[in-house]
Amino acid sequence: MTMTPDTLIPTKPVAVTVPPRPDHPPIIRAENLSVRYGDHRAFDQVTWTIARGRITALIGPSGCGKTSFLTCLNRLADLVPRCSVAGTLDIDGMDVLSAATDVIALRRRVGMIFQKPNPFPVSIRRNIALPLLDHRLCDRRTVDDHIERTLRAVGLWGEVKDRLNQSAFCLSGGQQQRLCLARALALKPDILLLDEPCSALDPISSGVVEDLIVSLRGRYTVVIVTHNLAQAKRIADDAAFFWLDGGAGRLIEHGPCRSVFENPAHPLTRAYIHGARG
C-alpha cells in the first residue's frame, strides 16, 4: 500500500449510492460530524446516512476514526476524557448530540459490542439481569424467562443452562462475546454497533459470531467495524471506507457493499481493497 497522494483525496466523499429505497429508509443521519480528542482530530466532516435494518460495514486502516464514529452513535464518547463531538447526528428523529437527549434511553436503543469481550465480573445470569432490572424492563419474577430467551437467541442456552450462576469469566472468548451480544439484545435495541466483534476470537468462534450477526439482518440495524475485508464482503449490505487524510479520518466512499468492493469509485478505495487482499 504505497499510494497516498493528497491529490486523490476529494473534498466530498464519493457516494455510489442508489438513493435510499423505501424499504430501507435511513435511520441514522450524520451531517458534518467530527470528533476530536484534545488537539487530535479522530475524523472530520462525515456526512452520511445509514439504512434501517441493514448491515453496514465500516472499513479502513487503523486510526482513521471508525471506532470513534461508532462511539458517537451511542454517546459513549462522553466517557472519553477530552473528547468533543461536533456536527449533527440524528437517529430516528432524535437529536443525539443535544444536551437534552436522554442518554440512558439512547443507549438502550443503540447497543454496542466491543472488540474485546467485556462481560461484567458477575454470574452469567446476572450479566443479563443487571441491565434488564436497571431499565425496569421486567421484574424479578419474569427476568429468568427473558434471560433464557436471549441466551437462546445467541445460541448459548444449551451451553450454559446448567451453570447460569457461574462467573461469566468461566466462558471461552467466543462464548463471552455471545453473552455480550445477548446482554445487548436483551434490551431490544433498534441499532447494534459492533466494534471488530470477531477480531479477538479464534476462527471457529469468529464464524459462530459472524453467523449470528447475519441472523440479525432485517430485525436490527447493524453497524460493524471490521478489518477483515472478506468478512465485510460476506456479511454487509452496505459499506463505507474511511481513510486517514492529513491527520484526521475521512469518509472516502460509501454505498452498497457490492459496488464498493467490486467497482470502487475512488482510487484510494480500490487501492485499499486490492492492497489488503494481496
Binding site: 476524557p81 467485556n118 461484567f120
Partner: protein, 298 residues
C-alpha cells in the same frame, strides 16, 4: 539476504545454560531475604510480647477495671473506651472517605483543578505528624466546640487523621477497576449510580477494605492525637461525652509514668496487636464475602 542473516547469527557463542549465571536467582534470593527479615521482626515482637506479658493475660485482665493506676487489675474500661473512640472515628471517616474517593475516581475528569487540590491537600494531611492533629483536635473539638476531653473529641480527631489515608487508598481501589466494566455498563445504558453500586464498588472492595484497615490500624496505634482530646481517665465511660483512655495511651502511661507497670503494659500491647490482627482478618473476610455475594451469584 538469508545467508547473511545466518552467518551473523552464528557469530555469537552459544548461550551457556548453567544455573549460576541465571540473574533471576539473585533477585529471588534478595526477595526471599527481605521477606524473611520482615516476618522475623514481626514474630520477634509478638514472641517478646507473649514472653513478657503473656502471664498477665487472663480473662479477668480483659474484663476487670484497672486498679492502682493500672499496675493491677485489667483493661476492661480501656477496651470499652478504645472501641468507642474507634467507632466514632470509623462512623465519620469511612462514609466520608469512601464518598470522597467515589467523587475523585468516578465523578470527575482527570485534571479537574478542584480534585487536584483535594488530592494534594489529602496527601499533605497524610504526612502531618499526629501530634499536630492532636493540637488541632484540642483547639477545635475540645475548646471551640466545647466537647471537652471526651471520647467524641478523640474519635473525631482520629477521623480527621485517618481520612486522608482512607480516602486515597479507596480511590486507588476504585481506579484499579478496569475501564471495560464502565464502558460495558454505559453501553447497556446503566446509570452511573447502578454501575457504581452493582459493579464498581464490589470490584473495588479489596481496595476499600484496605483503606479501612489502614485507617483502623493508624487509629488503634495512635497515642499523641488522643492525649489532648480523649484524655486518659481510666474509669469506665458512661457516654461519648466522657473522657476515656485508649489502649495505646494505657500502654504509654504504664510504661512511662507508672513504676512497676511494665508487665501490664506488655499484656496490653499483646491485646492491641491481637486486636489489629483480628480486625485485619475480619475486614478482609467481610470484604471477600461481600464481593463474592455481589459479583458471582444472581
Amino acid at each position: 539476504m538469508h545467508d547473511q542473516a545466518i552467518s551473523w547469527h552464528a557469530a555469537w557463542p552459544a548461550p551457556r545454560l548453567s544455573a549460576r549465571r541465571n540473574p533471576d536467582r539473585f533477585i529471588a534470593i534478595t526477595a526471599w531475604l527481605g521477606a524473611i527479615a520482615v516476618t522475623t521482626v514481626f514474630f520477634w515482637i509478638v514472641v517478646d510480647l507473649i514472653r513478657l506479658g503473656g502471664a498477665q493475660l487472663t480473662p479477668a485482665f480483659i474484663t476487670n477495671a484497672p486498679t492502682s493506676a493500672g499496675r493491677a487489675g485489667g483493661i476492661g474500661s480501656v477496651l470499652v473506651s478504645t472501641a468507642l473512640i474507634l467507632g466514632v472515628c470509623l462512623a465519620v471517616s469511612a462514609p466520608l472517605g469512601i464518598a470522597t474517593a467515589i467523587l475523585l475516581a468516578e465523578f470527575t475528569r482527570e485534571g479537574n483543578r478542584y480534585c487536584t487540590a483535594i488530592r494534594r491537600s489529602l496527601d499533605t494531611l497524610a504526612g502531618v505528624p499526629s501530634i499536630v492533629f492532636g493540637l488541632f483536635g484540642y483547639a477545635f473539638f475540645c475548646v471551640y466546640l466545647r466537647m471537652g476531653f471526651s471520647i467524641l473529641s478523640g474519635g473525631l480527631t482520629l477521623a480527621c487523621m485517618v481520612l486522608p489515608i482512607l480516602t486515597r487508598t479507596a480511590e486507588q481501589g476504585l481506579r484499579s477497576v478496569p475501564d471495560e466494566y464502565r464502558y460495558a455498563a454505559a453501553a447497556v445504558g446503566m446509570t452511573r449510580t447502578q454501575t457504581l453500586r452493582q459493579l464498581l464498588l464490589p470490584a473495588a472492595m479489596p481496595g476499600l477494605v484496605a483503606g479501612v484497615v489502614l485507617g483502623v490500624g493508624r487509629a488503634l496505634a495512635e497515642t499523641a492525637a488522643l492525649l489532648y482530646t480523649s484524655g486518659y481517665a481510666d474509669r469506665m465511660p458512661s457516654s461519648l461525652a466522657d473522657s476515656g483512655r485508649s489502649l495505646s495511651i494505657h500502654i504509654y502511661d504504664l510504661a512511662m509514668n507508672v513504676p512497676g507497670g511494665e508487665p501490664n503494659a506488655y499484656a496490653t500491647a499483646l491485646v492491641l496487636v491481637g486486636l489489629l490482627i483480628a480486625i485485619n482478618a475480619t475486614a478482609v473476610w467481610l470484604g471477600e464475602r461481600w464481593t463474592h455475594r455481589k459479583l458471582s451469584t444472581a
